[in-house]
Amino acid sequence: MSRLGIFVDRKTLSNSEQLNALIRCRDVAEELGHDVDFIFPVDINKIRRMDALFIRARTDPMNITYVAARMAEFHGIPVIDDPESIQICSDKINMYSHLKKKHVSIPETVFLSKHDLTVEHVAHLFDDLGSPLVVKEPSTSFSLRVEKVHDVAEFFKVARRFIKMSDWIVVQQFIESRYDWRVGVLDGKLLYACKYTIPSVTFKIQASVNGHLVYCGVESVPPERVPPGIIQLGTDAGNAIGKGLYGVDIKNNNGDACVIEVNDNPSLESGEDTQYPLVYEKIVSYLFAK
């Protein structure tokens, strides 16, 4: 019997939706005939005894999830998310560079080094990309450290904060939309699709508004109701990163679809897969087929 390790941390278990999603994953794997172990960071040495590893914790090359992914790789154990995907998706400079290299449509994007932070430069950016601009610290996730700025002064206020965390930042043309498509991609193929409806009080999928966290709405959409161009763009974006599991965020403004970002370790606990009951089965089968 094969053993699946599900790597989790305290945060993964911080709410009932996440816990239920993990239990669902465990049940599916067991129904497929595998043993399942939940692995916490302190148990990281157990990874070498697993036959496959599924990471369900916030990934970053600077934290324990990257260690878990690399440990699995050292021991020849199939892993989602693989270290390379973590390295690419956790850093928007790296991620957008991969998308650009493969000619995947993204908003107009400029990478700005701390040495390029001059009034002249920034004024050029507003001239070229329009106003407002979106400024991103490269390792942002859940829309943290993503800000919309309307003028040079506002730009510097945000950029100075972000540049303390990264020598380069991302500056992007703002694209308005009422909702984002989220295309789940596994092994370069469509896994699921849903819509994230942006709350009217913000432009992000998650934001703090007047001290309260505001989340986007999630609507799982069956494949026949997803525009083929969106599916194609999503799978193209996934393939530009690798062959793992990704959640591709797409804005489709006036038919001009573009990728906003590619996430490794995409959320699966908010109903993203309601219309796709085989999501966990496909993930587990993919891991053991590798």
């Binding site: 440990m71 270290p83 400029v110 070229d128 380069w168």
Partner: protein, 269 residues
Amino acid sequence: MNERMERSGILKPDGILPPPDSGQVCGMYQNRNGKPVPSQSAAIPPVFKKNGVKPPIKRDQALLKDSLYIVRRNGIHHIISENYYYKTEPYYTILRLELEGKQVEPGSSSVLDAYLIPLCLERAASAGIPSCEWGISQVYVPLPAILYGLNYFSTTLDYFVITDNEKAKEVVRHITNNGKYPFCYQKYPEGSEIHTCTAIFGRTIGACTAVADYAQKIYGLFRIPLVQLVFIKTGTTYTLSSLSPTRYAQLSDGERALLCAYLTNQDFL
């Protein structure tokens, strides 16, 4: 990123990229019409002569704090920097060259491994380098031990040798940000001491044979031109504890001379 770098056009074949006062990779970006927009840091005066025989480096003008050098030999771009931390200029320089399909040392994945203690030690041990046993914890730690943070804000420069429980509680609280993150611990045998050594392209100045040999092997693994090796020395035995960045200012005269020799092509890689 690619277009920015192509436009900087400073790299010479088999030569040395001059050390900018602000990082040589900051070139230009293009606006949407493909028109180049100049960067303030695009024009960088050369400091080193290509294939120079005499080192034109004076102590006050070269190896400046935070400066970064690219030495190209046999088609490989060697990135020389005081540190290679994630999301820094050296890291992005490596990444940019990798994305351009160029051979670059160290690789971006290598520098991540080098600065993450468990990965560094796993790789070192598998290459036959005596390495400390390690464990991950969030609260408890068997003492005496050496502790390293394992999170976004920690660096391998910050390690703590802990021998008593009171100190352990305080340090653990600090490096875990009150229990938020895990940390890495290693056994620290009684009577041990920390021994550090700087390796320049795998070479050391004044190190004993064992450490010099490990330095070479570590360079073979991670290909980091400038790195500090941290060992736990117990009796006459050295076990690797971590790899960490080092400042040019901390180099001895001999180490500076050795690094400058590499930079000026006197010492062949």
